[in-house]
């Protein structure tokens, strides 16, 4: 079965997107990313030395099958985000941008108002915009309206590893969305990733759970398999969950 994910003009065989923070070395990061078979890898512009084409971190990420997804981590409003996106486009030669605007440096929660503003402007400037946002169905539709090529709602606070806490809202988003839905943030274990995929998410983005694991390479592999399993299960249509057990003595038999 041809199950390819398409975002803007690109196609992805893997539905596991990965991040590059928190690894104990570039070497280990590189090995884990290879094991994940991820084809879209996000990197914080602030971590990259854009004046240095020998940047160690970039060298550890780039492979022919990999698309680089710069993110705007560190910016606090739409204006800074637009500036950062332009800088990333120039330095890293890609018009893809993961739009992250979290003015709150503590929980890194996205600012919905600034994100919508920036997304609208960036789409006009020709960017493929992937916005990191709350699991807010209305906001997702608004982003779709202004031309965002996908939406990236959070499962739980970033880095928390708490899993899919926003499930009720994610289900609505998935039901309503005309663009791919990528669950970003909060996924702490392969079972969380599989669960998100079973719900019908088009992809997931995982960073902390792989980077901070005792064995990032094995964990990356586990996530790859979980995402695949979740996707297959989704396509195979899960048997519906029975809400109530069937009563042994029927209550309406007397009607017969």
């Amino acid at each position: 079965m041809n199950d390819i994910l398409k975002i803007a003009n690109k196609q992805f065989g893997s539905r596991l997107f990965t991040g590059t923070g928190k690894f104990s070395s570039n070497t280990l990061m590189s090995e884990a990313l290879i094991a994940s078979e991820s084809e879209l890898i996000t990197v914080a512009l602030k971590r990259v030395d854009v004046d240095n084409n020998q940047d160690e971190m970039l060298k550890s990420i780039l492979r022919p099958s990999v698309n680089l997804l710069p993110n705007t981590s560190g910016v606090r409003n739409a204006k800074e985000a637009i500036f950062a996106a332009q800088l990333a486009r120039e330095a890293l030669e890609t018009n893809w941008i993961k739009l992250e605007i979290h003015p709150d440096p503590k929980y890194l929660l996205p600012d919905p108002i600034e994100t919508l503003k920036a997304a609208e402007e960036l789409v006009k400037l020709g960017f493929v915009v992937m916005p990191y946002i709350h699991a807010d169905p209305v906001l997702c539709k608004r982003l779709e309206d202004v031309g965002a090529q996908c939406v990236m709602p959070l499962g739980a606070p970033i880095g928390s590893n708490k899993g899919i806490k926003t499930v009720d809202f994610l289900e609505i988003i998935i039901e309503q969305s005309n663009v791919p839905v990528i669950v970003d943030a909060g996924i702490g274990s392969p079972s969380h990733a599989a669960y998100a995929m079973e719900l019908g998410a088009d992809a997931v983005l995982v960073n902390t759970a792989i980077a901070v694991s005792q064995n990032p390479v094995q964990m990356a592999k586990a996530f790859k398999m979980a995402v695949e399993a979740g996707r297959i299960a989704f396509n195979a249509k899960l048997a519906s969950v029975k809400k109530y057990a069937e009563a042994s003595s029927p209550l309406t038999a007397f009607l017969k």
């Binding site: 104990s24 030395d49 560190g74 500036f83 440096p105 503590k106």
Partner: protein, 372 residues
Amino acid sequence: MSFENTFNNYDWDTLEKEIYTYTTENVRQVLDKEKINLEDFKVLISPAAKPFLEEMAQRSHTITKKRFGNTIQMYVPMYLSNECQNICTYCGFSMTNKIPRKTLKDNELLQEVAFLKAKGYDHILLVTGEANKTVGVSYIKHAIEIIREHFSNISIEVQPLDQEEYEQLIDAGLYAVLVYQETYHKATYKIHHPKGKKSNFDYRLDTPDRLGKAGIHKIGIGALFGLEDWRVDSFYTALHLKYLQKTYWKTKYSISFPRLRPHQGDVQPKVEMTDADLVQLICAYRLLDEDVELSMSTRESEHFRNNIIKLGITSISAESKTNPGGYSVEPESLEQFEISDERSTAEIKEMIQSQGYEVLWKDWERNFTVKL
């Protein structure tokens, strides 16, 4: 509204008494909680928590790793001037100390920059005394302007300034300001800062508020350990942190833990803080706050710094010189205080990597701060 209102709700002696009367039972209860609040923090820095140090350290390690990953940020201080019109009883640059005074000129500054860049540094901390006529806002602003193309991230540790002055520096490309209260004990503060602008306790106390209002990216706070009881001073620091986080929620925070070091001058520590005490405090801060940056300078010994990497620290300096021009211009001039860990940057990098941590040189994009 400023921190002063919050500060005035607490009494030093009452806090001290509380902290010293907690029991093992109190500590156990706190450690069984998932979220640690300010009241719990008091228990965790108490003498009663000492037997729980290993448990606290394990927890601090785990939390820090989750939030900051396997990384340690590197930074380096660069002293611009030792001119000072304050008397601080514990400081080598104190006005009454008869030492040669020096303020770096542009060419000297750039010479130091070249030396530090060659070592790999990309986050820099500029330090001065307090001499508003010669080393005022215009000097500091100029220094930021001439070094900003060389560093991704610029912090300062200088005299407290007015909000409008901070705004000027932020516009020039400043990322963070470190300003330590030294001690939150008002009477003791007076004793150690008898003369100069710094003798104004309240102005210093409200400095982070002015920074928050100016919209700075990061504020570093802390107390100088040795002037007063470290436990009470640390509670006030934590109180300050929590107040600031709620009030200026877009700003990041860091805490430093300077212990009084031998220096040119005659005040020696009044209250001792042992290595175990410092570990206890670092872990307590981490348990209180998962996201606050915790910074470790070269004041501490090799042995201590080697072992603190995994305990909750997020940034570290190396090879620091505490005299203006100390790296390359005038390596022999008098230092503010003696550093303890004199290992080279390369050695520190190796030490960190050998423990399974990646050394971060760059974690900021200067174009986010410098709008050219």
